[in-house]
Symmetry: D2
Subunit: 133 residues, 4 copies
Protein backbone atom coordinates (compact mmCIF):
# COMPACT_ATOMS: atom_id res chain seq x y z
CA UNK A 1 0.00 0.00 0.00
CA UNK A 2 1.01 3.60 -0.21
CA UNK A 3 2.41 4.75 3.17
CA UNK A 4 1.19 8.33 3.53
CA UNK A 5 3.25 10.72 5.61
CA UNK A 6 1.12 13.69 6.51
CA UNK A 7 1.13 16.29 9.23
CA UNK A 8 -0.59 14.03 11.74
CA UNK A 9 1.04 10.63 11.33
CA UNK A 10 4.70 10.92 10.36
CA UNK A 11 6.60 7.71 9.67
CA UNK A 12 8.32 6.09 12.65
CA UNK A 13 12.12 5.85 12.74
CA UNK A 14 11.88 2.20 11.84
CA UNK A 15 9.70 2.96 8.85
CA UNK A 16 12.04 5.76 7.76
CA UNK A 17 15.06 3.49 7.90
CA UNK A 18 13.54 0.64 5.93
CA UNK A 19 11.51 2.60 3.43
CA UNK A 20 12.87 2.81 -0.10
CA UNK A 21 14.15 6.33 -0.65
CA UNK A 22 14.16 8.86 -3.46
CA UNK A 23 17.81 8.02 -4.10
CA UNK A 24 16.89 4.38 -4.74
CA UNK A 25 14.72 5.32 -7.71
CA UNK A 26 17.34 5.85 -10.47
CA UNK A 27 18.89 2.43 -10.00
CA UNK A 28 15.51 0.65 -9.92
CA UNK A 29 14.42 2.48 -13.06
CA UNK A 30 17.70 1.74 -14.85
CA UNK A 31 17.44 -1.97 -14.08
CA UNK A 32 13.77 -2.03 -15.14
CA UNK A 33 14.60 -0.44 -18.50
CA UNK A 34 17.71 -2.50 -19.21
CA UNK A 35 15.90 -5.80 -18.44
CA UNK A 36 13.30 -4.90 -21.05
CA UNK A 37 15.75 -3.45 -23.59
CA UNK A 38 13.87 -0.16 -23.36
CA UNK A 39 16.75 2.26 -23.15
CA UNK A 40 16.51 2.67 -26.94
CA UNK A 41 13.22 4.52 -26.39
CA UNK A 42 14.54 6.69 -23.57
CA UNK A 43 15.99 9.63 -25.43
CA UNK A 44 15.60 12.87 -23.46
CA UNK A 45 13.18 14.00 -26.18
CA UNK A 46 10.91 11.00 -25.62
CA UNK A 47 11.16 11.25 -21.86
CA UNK A 48 10.15 14.92 -21.96
CA UNK A 49 7.11 13.85 -23.99
CA UNK A 50 6.28 11.15 -21.45
CA UNK A 51 6.48 13.65 -18.57
CA UNK A 52 4.04 15.97 -20.34
CA UNK A 53 1.71 13.11 -21.25
CA UNK A 54 1.58 11.95 -17.63
CA UNK A 55 1.10 15.53 -16.42
CA UNK A 56 -1.89 15.62 -18.78
CA UNK A 57 -3.31 12.47 -17.18
CA UNK A 58 -2.88 14.02 -13.74
CA UNK A 59 -4.87 17.06 -14.90
CA UNK A 60 -7.80 14.80 -15.80
CA UNK A 61 -8.20 13.95 -12.11
CA UNK A 62 -9.00 17.62 -11.41
CA UNK A 63 -10.34 19.26 -14.56
CA UNK A 64 -14.04 19.23 -13.66
CA UNK A 65 -13.62 19.65 -9.92
CA UNK A 66 -14.05 22.93 -8.14
CA UNK A 67 -11.13 24.35 -6.19
CA UNK A 68 -12.80 23.24 -2.93
CA UNK A 69 -13.58 19.72 -4.19
CA UNK A 70 -9.91 19.39 -5.13
CA UNK A 71 -8.94 20.29 -1.54
CA UNK A 72 -11.30 17.60 -0.19
CA UNK A 73 -10.50 14.67 -2.43
CA UNK A 74 -11.97 11.34 -1.24
CA UNK A 75 -9.34 8.66 -0.56
CA UNK A 76 -9.85 6.53 -3.70
CA UNK A 77 -9.47 9.64 -5.85
CA UNK A 78 -6.41 10.69 -3.90
CA UNK A 79 -4.82 7.28 -4.44
CA UNK A 80 -5.49 7.56 -8.19
CA UNK A 81 -3.83 10.97 -8.23
CA UNK A 82 -0.89 9.54 -6.26
CA UNK A 83 -0.20 6.99 -8.99
CA UNK A 84 -0.40 9.63 -11.74
CA UNK A 85 2.01 11.79 -9.76
CA UNK A 86 4.27 8.77 -9.43
CA UNK A 87 4.31 8.45 -13.23
CA UNK A 88 5.44 12.06 -13.60
CA UNK A 89 8.15 11.58 -10.98
CA UNK A 90 9.46 8.34 -12.50
CA UNK A 91 9.95 9.87 -15.95
CA UNK A 92 11.51 12.96 -14.39
CA UNK A 93 14.02 10.81 -12.51
CA UNK A 94 14.78 8.81 -15.67
CA UNK A 95 15.30 11.99 -17.66
CA UNK A 96 17.59 13.40 -14.97
CA UNK A 97 19.68 10.25 -15.04
CA UNK A 98 20.00 10.33 -18.83
CA UNK A 99 20.94 14.01 -18.86
CA UNK A 100 23.32 13.75 -15.90
CA UNK A 101 21.27 16.22 -13.89
CA UNK A 102 21.06 16.22 -10.09
CA UNK A 103 17.33 16.80 -9.79
CA UNK A 104 17.29 17.53 -6.06
CA UNK A 105 20.15 20.01 -6.27
CA UNK A 106 18.41 21.72 -9.20
CA UNK A 107 15.19 21.89 -7.15
CA UNK A 108 16.90 23.51 -4.17
CA UNK A 109 18.71 25.85 -6.54
CA UNK A 110 15.37 26.82 -8.12
CA UNK A 111 13.89 27.72 -4.74
CA UNK A 112 16.88 30.04 -4.19
CA UNK A 113 16.28 31.66 -7.60
CA UNK A 114 12.55 32.02 -6.91
CA UNK A 115 13.26 33.66 -3.54
CA UNK A 116 15.26 36.32 -5.40
CA UNK A 117 12.63 36.76 -8.12
CA UNK A 118 9.79 37.00 -5.58
CA UNK A 119 11.00 38.95 -2.53
CA UNK A 120 8.50 38.56 0.33
CA UNK A 121 7.69 42.25 0.71
CA UNK A 122 6.75 42.62 -2.96
CA UNK A 123 5.22 39.23 -3.71
CA UNK A 124 3.17 38.66 -0.60
CA UNK A 125 -0.54 37.92 -1.00
CA UNK A 126 -0.91 37.99 -4.77
CA UNK A 127 -0.08 35.76 -7.72
CA UNK A 128 1.32 38.31 -10.17
CA UNK A 129 4.33 37.26 -12.22
CA UNK A 130 7.77 38.54 -11.17
CA UNK A 131 7.71 40.92 -14.14
CA UNK A 132 4.64 42.60 -12.62
CA UNK A 133 5.59 42.91 -8.95
Amino acid sequence: MIACANAHTPLSEEQMMSRPSFDDLPARLAAFAVERDWEQFHSPKNLAMAIAAEAGELLENFQWLSDTESRELPEPKRDEAALEMADVLLYLVLLARHLGVDLVAAAHRKIDLNAAKYPVDRARGHSRKYTDL
Copy 2:
Protein backbone atom coordinates in the same frame (compact mmCIF):
# COMPACT_ATOMS: atom_id res chain seq x y z
CA MET B 1 25.78 25.87 -8.74
CA ILE B 2 24.08 22.69 -9.71
CA ALA B 3 26.13 19.72 -8.46
CA CYS B 4 25.70 17.07 -11.15
CA ALA B 5 25.94 13.44 -10.14
CA ASN B 6 26.50 11.32 -13.20
CA ALA B 7 27.99 7.97 -13.94
CA HIS B 8 31.55 9.27 -14.00
CA THR B 9 31.77 11.70 -11.09
CA PRO B 10 29.56 10.67 -8.14
CA LEU B 11 29.38 13.00 -5.15
CA SER B 12 31.94 12.43 -2.42
CA GLU B 13 30.80 11.29 1.02
CA GLU B 14 31.32 14.79 2.32
CA GLN B 15 29.15 16.25 -0.42
CA MET B 16 26.47 13.61 0.16
CA MET B 17 26.29 14.38 3.87
CA SER B 18 25.96 18.15 3.49
CA ARG B 19 23.84 18.29 0.39
CA PRO B 20 20.16 19.25 0.86
CA SER B 21 18.06 16.17 0.28
CA PHE B 22 14.76 15.36 -1.41
CA ASP B 23 13.15 15.12 2.04
CA ASP B 24 14.15 18.73 2.79
CA LEU B 25 12.03 20.02 -0.10
CA PRO B 26 8.52 19.96 1.43
CA ALA B 27 9.51 22.07 4.42
CA ARG B 28 11.40 24.62 2.30
CA LEU B 29 8.43 24.91 -0.08
CA ALA B 30 5.94 25.24 2.78
CA ALA B 31 7.95 28.04 4.39
CA PHE B 32 8.37 29.79 1.03
CA ALA B 33 4.61 29.74 0.40
CA VAL B 34 3.57 30.73 3.92
CA GLU B 35 5.98 33.71 3.96
CA ARG B 36 4.35 35.01 0.81
CA ASP B 37 0.77 34.13 1.79
CA TRP B 38 0.56 31.95 -1.32
CA GLU B 39 -1.12 28.90 0.15
CA GLN B 40 -4.48 30.38 -0.93
CA PHE B 41 -3.41 29.69 -4.55
CA HIS B 42 -2.16 26.18 -3.87
CA SER B 43 -5.28 24.10 -4.29
CA PRO B 44 -4.52 20.66 -5.73
CA LYS B 45 -6.37 21.77 -8.86
CA ASN B 46 -4.07 24.75 -9.37
CA LEU B 47 -0.97 22.74 -8.54
CA ALA B 48 -1.91 20.10 -11.12
CA MET B 49 -2.22 22.92 -13.67
CA ALA B 50 1.18 24.27 -12.68
CA ILE B 51 2.78 20.83 -13.11
CA ALA B 52 1.35 20.52 -16.61
CA ALA B 53 2.35 24.09 -17.52
CA GLU B 54 5.94 23.45 -16.42
CA ALA B 55 5.98 20.09 -18.24
CA GLY B 56 4.98 22.07 -21.34
CA GLU B 57 7.93 24.43 -20.83
CA LEU B 58 10.25 21.45 -20.50
CA LEU B 59 8.95 20.14 -23.85
CA GLU B 60 9.99 23.39 -25.55
CA ASN B 61 13.62 22.53 -24.82
CA PHE B 62 13.30 19.46 -27.04
CA GLN B 63 10.50 19.99 -29.55
CA TRP B 64 12.63 20.83 -32.60
CA LEU B 65 15.60 18.64 -31.72
CA SER B 66 16.20 15.25 -33.25
CA ASP B 67 16.37 12.24 -31.00
CA THR B 68 20.17 12.23 -31.32
CA GLU B 69 20.54 15.95 -30.64
CA SER B 70 18.51 15.42 -27.48
CA ARG B 71 20.97 12.75 -26.36
CA GLU B 72 23.92 15.13 -26.95
CA LEU B 73 22.65 18.31 -25.32
CA PRO B 74 25.34 20.99 -24.87
CA GLU B 75 25.87 22.00 -21.24
CA PRO B 76 24.03 25.37 -21.30
CA LYS B 77 20.99 23.66 -22.80
CA ARG B 78 21.21 20.87 -20.24
CA ASP B 79 21.31 23.41 -17.40
CA GLU B 80 18.20 25.11 -18.80
CA ALA B 81 16.41 21.77 -18.92
CA ALA B 82 17.54 21.08 -15.35
CA LEU B 83 15.77 24.20 -14.10
CA GLU B 84 12.56 23.34 -15.98
CA MET B 85 12.71 19.85 -14.50
CA ALA B 86 13.17 21.44 -11.09
CA ASP B 87 9.97 23.42 -11.62
CA VAL B 88 8.02 20.24 -12.35
CA LEU B 89 9.47 18.54 -9.28
CA LEU B 90 8.75 21.46 -6.97
CA TYR B 91 5.08 21.60 -7.87
CA LEU B 92 4.83 17.82 -7.64
CA VAL B 93 6.28 17.90 -4.11
CA LEU B 94 3.93 20.74 -3.13
CA LEU B 95 0.93 18.85 -4.50
CA ALA B 96 1.98 15.70 -2.65
CA ARG B 97 2.22 17.64 0.61
CA HIS B 98 -1.22 19.20 0.13
CA LEU B 99 -2.82 15.84 -0.74
CA GLY B 100 -1.03 13.93 2.01
CA VAL B 101 0.64 11.66 -0.54
CA ASP B 102 4.03 9.98 0.01
CA LEU B 103 5.45 10.61 -3.44
CA VAL B 104 8.46 8.33 -3.12
CA ALA B 105 6.42 5.41 -1.80
CA ALA B 106 3.93 5.92 -4.64
CA ALA B 107 6.81 5.93 -7.14
CA HIS B 108 8.26 2.68 -5.83
CA ARG B 109 4.76 1.21 -5.76
CA LYS B 110 4.27 2.24 -9.40
CA ILE B 111 7.45 0.46 -10.47
CA ASP B 112 6.06 -2.70 -8.82
CA LEU B 113 2.78 -2.29 -10.73
CA ASN B 114 4.61 -1.66 -14.01
CA ALA B 115 6.73 -4.78 -13.50
CA ALA B 116 3.52 -6.80 -13.32
CA LYS B 117 1.96 -5.04 -16.32
CA TYR B 118 5.12 -5.46 -18.42
CA PRO B 119 6.68 -8.86 -17.69
CA VAL B 120 10.19 -8.98 -19.16
CA ASP B 121 9.61 -11.94 -21.46
CA ARG B 122 6.63 -10.29 -23.15
CA ALA B 123 7.64 -6.62 -23.06
CA ARG B 124 11.30 -6.89 -24.03
CA GLY B 125 12.54 -4.88 -26.99
CA HIS B 126 9.36 -3.08 -28.05
CA SER B 127 7.23 -0.17 -26.87
CA ARG B 128 3.75 -1.64 -27.29
CA LYS B 129 1.23 -0.85 -24.57
CA TYR B 130 0.47 -3.50 -21.96
CA THR B 131 -2.89 -4.10 -23.64
CA ASP B 132 -1.05 -5.16 -26.79
CA LEU B 133 1.72 -7.40 -25.42
Copy 3:
Protein backbone atom coordinates in the same frame (compact mmCIF):
# COMPACT_ATOMS: atom_id res chain seq x y z
CA MET C 1 -6.70 43.51 -34.67
CA ILE C 2 -8.57 40.48 -33.53
CA ALA C 3 -12.19 40.70 -34.70
CA CYS C 4 -14.20 39.14 -31.88
CA ALA C 5 -17.51 37.50 -32.72
CA ASN C 6 -19.52 37.12 -29.57
CA ALA C 7 -23.15 36.80 -28.69
CA HIS C 8 -23.76 40.53 -28.89
CA THR C 9 -21.89 41.71 -31.96
CA PRO C 10 -21.79 39.10 -34.73
CA LEU C 11 -19.82 39.88 -37.85
CA SER C 12 -21.68 41.64 -40.68
CA GLU C 13 -22.15 39.85 -44.02
CA GLU C 14 -19.39 41.98 -45.51
CA GLN C 15 -17.00 41.05 -42.74
CA MET C 16 -17.93 37.37 -43.08
CA MET C 17 -17.24 37.40 -46.81
CA SER C 18 -13.85 39.08 -46.61
CA ARG C 19 -12.56 37.52 -43.44
CA PRO C 20 -9.88 34.82 -43.82
CA SER C 21 -11.46 31.48 -42.99
CA PHE C 22 -10.43 28.33 -41.19
CA ASP C 23 -9.93 26.65 -44.56
CA ASP C 24 -7.34 29.30 -45.51
CA LEU C 25 -5.07 28.29 -42.64
CA PRO C 26 -3.37 25.15 -44.05
CA ALA C 27 -2.16 26.91 -47.18
CA ARG C 28 -0.85 29.94 -45.26
CA LEU C 29 0.96 27.66 -42.81
CA ALA C 30 2.42 25.55 -45.60
CA ALA C 31 3.76 28.59 -47.42
CA PHE C 32 5.15 30.02 -44.17
CA ALA C 33 7.05 26.79 -43.43
CA VAL C 34 8.31 26.21 -46.95
CA GLU C 35 9.65 29.78 -47.24
CA ARG C 36 11.68 29.22 -44.11
CA ASP C 37 12.73 25.64 -44.94
CA TRP C 38 11.07 24.51 -41.74
CA GLU C 39 9.24 21.45 -42.98
CA GLN C 40 12.25 19.38 -41.85
CA PHE C 41 11.23 20.13 -38.25
CA HIS C 42 7.54 19.39 -38.78
CA SER C 43 7.36 15.67 -38.16
CA PRO C 44 4.06 14.66 -36.55
CA LYS C 45 6.05 13.80 -33.43
CA ASN C 46 7.47 17.32 -33.15
CA LEU C 47 4.14 18.93 -33.97
CA ALA C 48 2.42 16.91 -31.23
CA MET C 49 5.08 18.21 -28.83
CA ALA C 50 4.48 21.77 -29.98
CA ILE C 51 0.73 21.43 -29.43
CA ALA C 52 1.30 20.23 -25.86
CA ALA C 53 3.88 22.95 -25.19
CA GLU C 54 1.47 25.66 -26.35
CA ALA C 55 -1.38 24.08 -24.36
CA GLY C 56 0.93 24.39 -21.34
CA GLU C 57 1.44 28.10 -22.06
CA LEU C 58 -2.32 28.57 -22.30
CA LEU C 59 -2.68 26.96 -18.84
CA GLU C 60 -0.37 29.59 -17.36
CA ASN C 61 -2.96 32.26 -18.16
CA PHE C 62 -5.37 30.54 -15.76
CA GLN C 63 -3.43 28.54 -13.21
CA TRP C 64 -3.68 30.95 -10.27
CA LEU C 65 -7.10 32.34 -11.13
CA SER C 66 -10.28 31.23 -9.43
CA ASP C 67 -13.03 29.72 -11.54
CA THR C 68 -14.96 33.00 -11.32
CA GLU C 69 -11.95 35.18 -12.21
CA SER C 70 -11.48 32.99 -15.28
CA ARG C 71 -15.07 33.69 -16.31
CA GLU C 72 -14.50 37.46 -15.96
CA LEU C 73 -11.17 37.90 -17.71
CA PRO C 74 -10.23 41.53 -18.38
CA GLU C 75 -9.75 42.32 -22.08
CA PRO C 76 -5.92 42.45 -22.15
CA LYS C 77 -5.80 39.04 -20.47
CA ARG C 78 -8.38 37.70 -22.88
CA ASP C 79 -6.34 38.89 -25.84
CA GLU C 80 -3.25 37.16 -24.45
CA ALA C 81 -5.22 33.95 -24.09
CA ALA C 82 -6.51 34.37 -27.65
CA LEU C 83 -2.95 34.36 -29.01
CA GLU C 84 -2.01 31.28 -26.98
CA MET C 85 -5.13 29.54 -28.29
CA ALA C 86 -4.11 30.57 -31.79
CA ASP C 87 -0.74 28.83 -31.27
CA VAL C 88 -2.48 25.59 -30.31
CA LEU C 89 -4.78 25.82 -33.33
CA LEU C 90 -1.96 26.57 -35.76
CA TYR C 91 0.07 23.52 -34.76
CA LEU C 92 -3.08 21.38 -34.79
CA VAL C 93 -3.86 22.47 -38.36
CA LEU C 94 -0.23 21.83 -39.41
CA LEU C 95 -0.31 18.38 -37.85
CA ALA C 96 -3.60 17.59 -39.56
CA ARG C 97 -2.16 18.59 -42.91
CA HIS C 98 0.94 16.45 -42.43
CA LEU C 99 -1.10 13.43 -41.33
CA GLY C 100 -3.76 13.86 -44.02
CA VAL C 101 -6.48 14.28 -41.43
CA ASP C 102 -9.65 16.32 -41.96
CA LEU C 103 -9.71 18.04 -38.61
CA VAL C 104 -13.23 19.47 -38.89
CA ALA C 105 -14.74 16.16 -40.00
CA ALA C 106 -12.95 14.42 -37.12
CA ALA C 107 -14.34 17.03 -34.72
CA HIS C 108 -17.92 16.56 -35.89
CA ARG C 109 -17.39 12.79 -35.78
CA LYS C 110 -16.14 13.09 -32.18
CA ILE C 111 -19.26 14.99 -31.12
CA ASP C 112 -21.33 12.11 -32.55
CA LEU C 113 -19.25 9.59 -30.58
CA ASN C 114 -19.54 11.66 -27.39
CA ALA C 115 -23.32 11.88 -27.80
CA ALA C 116 -23.43 8.09 -27.77
CA LYS C 117 -21.02 7.79 -24.82
CA TYR C 118 -22.93 10.40 -22.78
CA PRO C 119 -26.67 9.99 -23.39
CA VAL C 120 -28.52 13.02 -22.02
CA ASP C 121 -30.70 11.12 -19.56
CA ARG C 122 -27.69 9.49 -17.87
CA ALA C 123 -25.09 12.23 -18.20
CA ARG C 124 -27.14 15.28 -17.31
CA GLY C 125 -25.95 17.53 -14.50
CA HIS C 126 -22.76 15.75 -13.43
CA SER C 127 -19.21 15.34 -14.73
CA ARG C 128 -18.68 11.63 -14.13
CA LYS C 129 -16.80 9.71 -16.80
CA TYR C 130 -18.79 7.55 -19.24
CA THR C 131 -17.52 4.46 -17.43
CA ASP C 132 -19.29 5.70 -14.27
CA LEU C 133 -22.65 6.86 -15.63
Copy 4:
Protein backbone atom coordinates in the same frame (compact mmCIF):
# COMPACT_ATOMS: atom_id res chain seq x y z
CA MET D 1 -16.35 8.09 -41.52
CA ILE D 2 -13.63 10.64 -41.49
CA ALA D 3 -13.35 12.21 -44.96
CA CYS D 4 -9.67 12.97 -45.41
CA ALA D 5 -8.67 15.91 -47.55
CA ASN D 6 -5.04 15.67 -48.48
CA ALA D 7 -2.86 16.89 -51.28
CA HIS D 8 -3.94 14.14 -53.65
CA THR D 9 -7.68 13.76 -53.16
CA PRO D 10 -9.35 17.06 -52.32
CA LEU D 11 -13.07 17.01 -51.56
CA SER D 12 -15.42 17.47 -54.52
CA GLU D 13 -17.60 20.58 -54.71
CA GLU D 14 -20.56 18.50 -53.65
CA GLN D 15 -18.75 17.19 -50.64
CA MET D 16 -17.56 20.69 -49.73
CA MET D 17 -21.10 22.07 -49.87
CA SER D 18 -22.70 19.39 -47.70
CA ARG D 19 -19.88 18.80 -45.25
CA PRO D 20 -20.32 20.29 -41.76
CA SER D 21 -17.93 23.21 -41.46
CA PHE D 22 -15.67 24.65 -38.76
CA ASP D 23 -18.23 27.41 -38.20
CA ASP D 24 -20.89 24.79 -37.32
CA LEU D 25 -18.87 23.56 -34.35
CA PRO D 26 -19.66 26.23 -31.71
CA ALA D 27 -23.41 25.79 -32.05
CA ARG D 28 -23.21 21.99 -31.93
CA LEU D 29 -21.01 22.14 -28.85
CA ALA D 30 -23.24 24.69 -27.14
CA ALA D 31 -26.32 22.53 -27.70
CA PHE D 32 -24.48 19.41 -26.51
CA ALA D 33 -23.45 21.11 -23.27
CA VAL D 34 -26.78 22.78 -22.56
CA GLU D 35 -28.70 19.49 -23.08
CA ARG D 36 -26.52 17.87 -20.46
CA ASP D 37 -26.44 20.84 -18.07
CA TRP D 38 -22.67 20.88 -18.43
CA GLU D 39 -22.06 24.58 -18.84
CA GLN D 40 -21.48 24.77 -15.08
CA PHE D 41 -18.23 22.85 -15.62
CA HIS D 42 -17.09 24.93 -18.59
CA SER D 43 -15.26 27.78 -16.93
CA PRO D 44 -12.33 28.97 -19.06
CA LYS D 45 -10.05 27.61 -16.34
CA ASN D 46 -11.48 24.10 -16.66
CA LEU D 47 -11.53 24.25 -20.44
CA ALA D 48 -7.84 25.24 -20.51
CA MET D 49 -7.15 22.19 -18.33
CA ALA D 50 -9.14 19.97 -20.69
CA ILE D 51 -7.18 21.27 -23.70
CA ALA D 52 -3.88 20.43 -21.98
CA ALA D 53 -5.14 17.02 -20.85
CA GLU D 54 -6.18 16.13 -24.40
CA ALA D 55 -2.89 17.47 -25.78
CA GLY D 56 -1.21 15.07 -23.35
CA GLU D 57 -3.25 12.18 -24.73
CA LEU D 58 -2.25 13.14 -28.26
CA LEU D 59 1.42 13.03 -27.20
CA GLU D 60 0.99 9.41 -26.10
CA ASN D 61 0.35 8.44 -29.72
CA PHE D 62 3.88 9.57 -30.59
CA GLN D 63 6.07 9.42 -27.50
CA TRP D 64 7.92 6.16 -28.27
CA LEU D 65 7.93 6.54 -32.06
CA SER D 66 10.93 7.74 -34.00
CA ASP D 67 10.60 10.88 -36.09
CA THR D 68 10.39 8.70 -39.23
CA GLU D 69 7.81 6.31 -37.78
CA SER D 70 5.68 9.34 -36.94
CA ARG D 71 5.86 10.46 -40.58
CA GLU D 72 4.71 6.99 -41.74
CA LEU D 73 1.83 6.32 -39.37
CA PRO D 74 -0.32 3.30 -40.34
CA GLU D 75 -3.98 4.17 -40.95
CA PRO D 76 -5.46 2.82 -37.69
CA LYS D 77 -2.90 4.84 -35.71
CA ARG D 78 -3.61 7.91 -37.80
CA ASP D 79 -7.35 7.58 -37.13
CA GLU D 80 -6.66 7.34 -33.38
CA ALA D 81 -4.57 10.49 -33.57
CA ALA D 82 -7.33 12.20 -35.55
CA LEU D 83 -9.81 11.64 -32.71
CA GLU D 84 -7.35 12.94 -30.10
CA MET D 85 -6.77 16.00 -32.27
CA ALA D 86 -10.53 16.41 -32.50
CA ASP D 87 -10.72 16.48 -28.70
CA VAL D 88 -8.17 19.29 -28.54
CA LEU D 89 -10.04 21.25 -31.21
CA LEU D 90 -13.44 20.81 -29.56
CA TYR D 91 -12.27 22.20 -26.22
CA LEU D 92 -10.44 25.01 -28.00
CA VAL D 93 -13.64 26.00 -29.84
CA LEU D 94 -15.65 25.79 -26.59
CA LEU D 95 -13.12 27.97 -24.79
CA ALA D 96 -13.15 30.50 -27.63
CA ARG D 97 -16.92 30.71 -27.45
CA HIS D 98 -16.90 31.22 -23.68
CA LEU D 99 -14.21 33.91 -23.87
CA GLY D 100 -15.73 35.65 -26.89
CA VAL D 101 -12.62 35.03 -28.96
CA ASP D 102 -12.62 34.65 -32.76
CA LEU D 103 -10.25 31.72 -32.97
CA VAL D 104 -9.70 31.86 -36.72
CA ALA D 105 -9.01 35.59 -36.74
CA ALA D 106 -6.57 35.12 -33.85
CA ALA D 107 -4.84 32.33 -35.80
CA HIS D 108 -4.41 34.45 -38.92
CA ARG D 109 -3.25 37.32 -36.73
CA LYS D 110 -0.67 35.04 -35.09
CA ILE D 111 0.75 34.03 -38.48
CA ASP D 112 1.21 37.73 -39.22
CA LEU D 113 3.02 38.24 -35.90
CA ASN D 114 5.20 35.18 -36.50
CA ALA D 115 6.14 36.44 -39.96
CA ALA D 116 7.48 39.60 -38.32
CA LYS D 117 9.28 37.69 -35.55
CA TYR D 118 10.85 35.24 -38.00
CA PRO D 119 11.84 37.10 -41.20
CA VAL D 120 12.67 34.59 -43.94
CA ASP D 121 16.24 35.76 -44.50
CA ARG D 122 17.17 35.33 -40.84
CA ALA D 123 15.03 32.36 -39.85
CA ARG D 124 15.51 30.12 -42.88
CA GLY D 125 16.76 26.58 -42.34
CA HIS D 126 17.14 26.51 -38.56
CA SER D 127 14.87 26.23 -35.52
CA ARG D 128 16.43 28.85 -33.24
CA LYS D 129 14.07 31.02 -31.22
CA TYR D 130 13.39 34.57 -32.45
CA THR D 131 15.55 35.88 -29.61
CA ASP D 132 18.52 34.01 -31.13
CA LEU D 133 18.18 34.77 -34.84
